[in-house]
Amino acid sequence: MEIAGSIFVLIGSLIFFLSSLGVIRMPDVYNRIQTGTKATTLGTIFVLVGLAFLSPDWTAKLAVLLVFILLTNPVSSHVVARAAHFNKEPMSPLTIEDKLEAKEEEA
């Protein structure tokens, strides 16, 4: 039980490391959100579940924290992405299509 919990926490921290690497390496804001804000969600799930394995008394409060993060994380990444598109942040030259831009020009 103890070993399983600590392995879970270790996997979570490795996911954190990879996602912060993604924040550095990706070329524009949208792709940074893709690899940064959202990949950390799975890392948080792993860390909190591992801690719940390690000390079962804390499970209820860790579950509240996990639900809170699962509800707020998509909202903040959506808001940042919409603000970026509203301000016409430069998109990476690799981008092949932007349907939202085309629709805004139509209106």
Binding site: F17, L51, L54, S76
Partner: protein, 86 residues
């Protein structure tokens, strides 16, 4: 045994906070910095929870909860302001 592995995990998490901090310093626009701040605060929540286990203090989980609430509001306010003013 478990404490040692958790110590290593906290170290890796702090290293990734440092890497995200590089983007926070560099990031050409404000929104890049907001994304980096969001990543840093989510990792910090987990680091606080790991510390709470290492020090055996249950009350530190409350600190993580309040920190998550405040950082979410901060990201929301900055993005909202950047979109169309408050």
């Amino acid at each position: 045994m478990a404490d040692k592995i958790l110590f290593i995990a906290a170290g890796i998490s702090l290293l990734s906070i440092f890497i995200a901090l590089l983007r926070f310093i560099k990031g050409p626009s404000v929104l890049d910095r907001v994304v980096a701040f969001d990543v840093i605060s989510i990792i910090a929540i987990s680091v606080i929870c790991i510390l709470a286990f290492l020090l055996r203090r249950f009350i530190y989980v409350d600190v993580a909860l309040v920190y998550g609430l405040l950082s979410f509001l901060g990201v929301l306010v900055v993005a909202r302001y950047y979109e169309r003013g408050l």
